[in-house]
Subunit: 352 residues, 2 copies
């Protein structure tokens, strides 16, 4: 090989990295002074501070993060793992909600100085016990998730996008379910629907439980029959089948005039199912899905969605995390963030 190979692995030190002491020597100062200058601490004369900085810049100095971590006792590293409530774990990122929550969490965390390590879905704490994690974000945990317990037992604080009330060290951000369900059902009602049907996962997560409860309450208030179809499993197949069940109508053969799908499914597939069952959307069926799927905007007609606003959840969660980690003060365990109903043609009754 001709050209001096500077890449390769560490074994044969690629480029003997510039250390603090090198900068100090070069600038004719001490480590302390240079360190203070770069970290903007201590009392230094402006001239010296500038000189230290200039030298560091010129030499291309990059502080060694590991050494800093060791000194600080914190690694500025957080884990991100999917809880047990998620079924199709190996491919959880394919869900637009998780995809966006994940990306937003990583971005927000980094902005606040924390690197986010993606932990394999469904992995147990033992698999990553060696990592110096300051905290772990557990998405969509079960009511009594084992991963949450494992992490807490290891003395690591847990942050979640689902309520994990009552466990010290566990914090959460969740959506305002009550308001969410009402916004969708109120919208249907305003559009004239009187026989709405709900498709919701048969799970123990707070969100789904509360969706069910909020729907029941709303129906009672409005004197409308409570029609619900529960989905046992996650995935497009099961959800579409549940939708089809919902669309066949009640035992008396009365067909619904509005459909709220809370289980995650591809909006185009839900729409196609409605078509197969002879519904015109929005002519004789108003449709809304709880979904972050962008394909909802591209169907004919576009599908109304109730967005859980994963970015907002991520931001609130990371702010919370940083506050707990850095101020250590007694923070509230939970926070609610609002949802957003994006009304599109699929749920707007035509005039005339």
């Amino acid at each position: 090989m001709t050209h001096g190979s500077r890449h390769g692995g560490q074994p044969s030190s690629p480029t003997p990295r510039v250390r603090l002491v090198d900068v100090a020597r070069e600038a004719g100062l001490s480590k302390t002074t240079v360190s203070a200058a770069l970290n903007d601490t201590g009392r230094l004369s402006p001239a010296v501070r500038e000189k230290a900085r200039e030298t560091a810049r010129r030499m291309g100095y990059r502080p060694n993060a590991t050494a800093r971590q060791l000194r600080a006792g914190r690694a500025k590293l957080i884990g991100y793992v999917v809880g047990e409530a998620v079924d199709a774990r190996s491919v959880f990122l394919e869900s637009p909600y998780f995809a966006r929550l994940t990306g937003a969490t990583a971005a927000t965390a980094l902005r606040r100085g924390y690197a986010m390590v993606l932990l394999p879905a469904g992995s147990l704490q033992s698999e990553w016990a060696d990592l110096p994690l300051d905290a772990v974000v557990v998405t969509d945990p079960d009511a009594d998730d084992r991963i949450v317990d494992d992490v807490l037992a290891a003395g690591i604080p847990v942050f979640s996008d689902r309520s994990v009330e009552g466990r010290p060290g566990a914090y959460w951000v969740d959506v305002d379910t009550e308001a969410a369900v009402r916004s969708a059902l109120d919208h249907f009602h305003e559009q004239g629907a009187r026989r709405p049907v709900l498709v919701v996962p048969d799970s123990t997560t707070r969100f789904h439980t509360e969706v069910f409860a909020a729907h029941r309450e709303w129906c009672a208030e409005h004197g409308l029959p409570e029609r619900v179809v529960r989905v046992g499993e996650a995935g497009n197949g099961p959800v579409v089948r549940a939708v089809e069940t919902a669309l066949t109508g009640d035992p008396a053969g009365r067909r619904p005039d509005a459909l709220l799908v809370v289980a995650e499914a591809s909006p185009p597939l839900v729409l196609a199912a409605a078509r197969r069952h002879g519904y015109d959307v929005p002519g004789d069926l108003l449709l809304a899905c709880v979904s972050e799927d962008v394909t909802a905007e591209h169907t004919e007609p576009p599908v109304t969605t109730l967005s859980l606003r994963p970015e907002a959840i991520a931001e609130a969660g990371i702010e919370h995390l940083v506050r707990v980690l850095e101020q250590g003060g007694r923070e509230p365990a939970g926070t609610l963030v609002p949802t957003r109903l994006d009304v599109r043609a699929s749920s707007v009754r035509q005039h005339g």
Copy 2:
């Protein structure tokens, strides 16, 4: 201060973690001995080794990863970032390909002892310069991606799922494009199609360039006209519009009898577009999409897909990475992995 607060460090350490020296003291041994016992190095009497291990276990000792890193000089941390070729960067994970590649990369890496940090899409090296990354995985970089340059300039090896030939320190795994395109077109041909049309992104990535070339070559070989529609932008909207252009037929008004969509789009949406244009699939149009989208299995008819096998790419890439990092030997810069054609009803001519 009431409780003996060691100097620099955590605000108020939750559980004063057990250190190596604690185990040593408890076992009546030295740090050296315990370290050797736990790492299975050195020459120790079986009795002592067992005693050290037992004590460590009993005390719940967990080695401090940061200290180890500082000693070792490597952090066992790799970065993962999306290259410049990806358009909708903020939501790149919503693409099933990226979602699966990302998850599989994280899982494989962790299995090999490396934690994967998810870096915000489109972020520059400066935003995470502080992280002690041993390597960075750049997905879908442009032909001369700036992120790749930045990372290489920082002396960090780069691994990619797209060819980045010719830059020392850059390694890649890519798909066998030629074989991929041929498998799809051959399949169409076997099913009797004679007027296939290709929809492909107008990008400079090796994959898309080679898809174009392989298609041209295949058409020439088979004496068939080369029909191609280029998509300028990523996203369901632009791709669906390109599909519609492709389906309107050539200037002479001759309509295609097979459609290969290489640009990423939701299969249900592509299918719906074909319907809108009066095609029966697979009756008068055979359809195949390059996609990892699971919704392809749930349409009516299910859509044939050409899978790039992100999991295989991830595994090959991480194996490669580990080899380069740990053996440092002169490894080949690139590897090809095969694709897989999942034939479904959308591309199978009916009998009778």
